[in-house]
């Protein structure tokens, strides 16, 4: 087979598809991001840097910074929750390990929209939590826990936590246990062993997990819409609005490339870390 079928024939269909329906669309909105919006929402092919300049408007900048803040917080908390969990899973017998892993994988691939809806049921004014507080005598009136940054934050953490646990698990699992034992034998405390042996050697998993959580958190628009009630904005909502409501596609495209620039920087950082850990 090796010699008889050229790899090009095998790669051809997929690469053609991606060329047409991934590269061309991205190239198109890249071009759009330098065009202007006409009076009726149409795209006027006149070169401008204005869309990118407008990303630095105080209101837009604030949304960008707030989104970065929320996504960073989600990532840090996912790491704090995910690392001990992943570590615990690696310590189990083969059977338990498998069961616990499947239980992380299931929410990873099932409808995030529905899992977000579950939090509306929990947190809304007539919801489970509000009623629970009343019946416990902790509150007299129904309270809505929705429509604030905390609700968005919980929703994102809930959705993307499995994205953190899985890469962490695989990097901890690959770690040679003898290294840790050697560290103990040489008299290092568990904390010192963790900080100086385990953590640095699983840094690759940490970075991969962090990117898997940070990137989708940054671009998500339905969690802020549903749990933030559309009153708390993230970048995804702004892009959504420019495309479906304000019909300023060039401006929306520039926002999208703002997000892409952040993603690109993170991916380069990941490649750098990977190379560094492979060398050591």
């Amino acid at each position: 087979m090796k010699k008889l079928v050229s790899p090009l024939v095998l790669l051809g269909p997929a690469l053609t598809w991606l060329g047409i329906f991934l590269v061309l669309p991205l190239a198109l909105i890249f071009v759009y991001s330098f065009f202007q919006r006409g009076a009726f929402g149409q795209i006027v092919p006149q070169f401008t840097l204005g869309n990118y300049m407008r990303l630095f408007n105080p209101t837009v900048l604030k949304v960008f910074l707030n989104s970065l803040r929320i996504a960073s917080l989600v990532t840090v908390l996912a790491l704090l929750l995910g690392y001990p969990t992943a570590y615990f899973i690696t310590q189990q017998s083969a059977r338990w390990k498998n069961t616990l892993l499947v239980l992380v994988i299931l929410p990873f691939w099932t409808s995030y929209l529905i899992r977000t809806y579950a939090w509306i049921v929990l947190l809304n004014r007539e919801g489970v939590l509000s009623r629970l507080l009343i019946s416990l005598g902790l509150s007299r009136e129904p309270i809505s826990f929705l429509y604030n940054d905390t609700a968005i934050f919980i929703g994102l953490l809930y959705g993307y936590l499995p994205f953190m646990v899985l890469p962490l698990y695989s990097s901890i699992e690959r770690l040679n246990p003898e290294l840790r034992e050697a560290s103990f034998d040489l008299g290092a405390t568990p904390l010192k062993t963790f900080l100086q042996v385990t953590l640095p050697l699983t840094l690759r998993g940490v970075v991969t997990g962090a990117i898997f959580v940070f990137v989708p958190s940054l671009g998500n628009f339905f969690v802020p819409e549903l749990l933030g009630g559309g009153q708390r904005f993230m970048i995804g909502n702004m892009i959504n609005n420019q495309f479906l409501k304000a019909r300023d596609w060039p401006y929306g495209s520039a926002m999208a490339f703002g997000v892409m620039a952040i993603v690109l920087i993170l991916l380069l950082f990941q490649a750098w870390i990977t190379r560094r850990t492979e060398q050591s």
């Binding site: 790899p7 790669l11 615990f88 239980l103 339905f222 495209s253």
Partner: protein, 256 residues
């Protein structure tokens, strides 16, 4: 020992966080009263209600059509891609390109595809959603088949060719049966993702024929209704079942 107990407690709480809200939805879907807080007895009422909902059944059908169509194409393209990638030297740029749709924020891909279809004056329909879903599903199928291929013994193919079997026969008699579980696992995963995918479908769907997640989104935006609990339970169960089968076939290995 103390550390171990603490880890156990921590992990239990994390699983409670992951599954508590889902279990709550499932329990509520069988609650006759329809209220999240008062148990009115066990009932299948809300499930029966779903059967009467024409719009919902249509949306479910649309979702199955999109998922089926995009899975068929991605299964073929993704498998070929995995075989091709296995045959050439590992190329970072090519890898990054092929798996880009998995990491790029979905809203960016969504507006890019919407712009592209609009530019081509292609009316938005189930076809445009299907085309869009193929873009990321190729990567998922390819990733899984590739893992399967990395265990593959190349001498089997060579032996078949040396014994005079033509390449196509070798493919169908040797290669395909050996990687078939991987293809099925990848296809099941692709089908599930497509079935549940919301953001890209939301932007590339025509107004007349929404998929199920689009309909669910418009339902939950206007508050909590008990029939959504039943619908959510059904959708989650179907996804979980497909993922478990895929997992059994070695499906979700090799992603990380």
């Amino acid at each position: 020992m103390r550390v171990r107990n603490w880890l156990r407690l921590h992990t239990s709480l994390v699983y409670l966080f992951l599954y508590g809200p889902i279990l709550m939805l499932i329990v509520l879907s069988f609650n006759r009263s329809g209220l999240p807080t008062a148990w009115g007895g066990f009932s299948l009422h809300w499930y029966q209600e779903l059967w009467q909902n024409k719009a919902l059944l249509n949306a479910a059908l649309n979702s199955v059509l999109v998922a089926g169509g995009s899975t068929l194409v991605s299964a073929v393209f993704g498998t070929l891609l995995a075989m091709g990638l296995e045959r050439i030297a590992r190329n970072m740029v090519l890898d990054a390109f092929v798996f880009l749709p998995m990491i790029i924020p979905d809203i960016v891909l969504a507006i890019a595809l919407l712009s592209f279809f609009t530019f081509l004056e292609m009316p938005l329909s189930l076809l445009t959603i299907t085309i869009s879903h193929i873009v990321f599903n190729i990567a998922f199928v390819a990733a899984i088949v590739r893992t399967r291929l990395s265990y593959f013994d190349n001498t089997l193919e060579e032996a078949s060719l040396d014994l005079g079997a033509p390449p196509l026969k070798t493919f169908f008699k040797i290669t395909l049966p050996l990687i078939f579980p991987g293809i099925v696992a990848g296809s099941l995963l692709a089908f599930t993702i497509s079935l549940d995918e919301f953001v890209i479908a939301f932007f590339t769907a025509g107004p007349a024929r929404p998929t199920l997640p689009i309909l669910i989104y418009s339902m939950v935006r206007f508050g909590v209704t008990p029939d959504v609990n039943a619908l959510a339970t059904i959708v989650l169960s179907i996804s979980a079942l497909l993922i478990l089968i895929s997992q059994r076939l070695g499906g979700t290995e090799g992603f990380f």
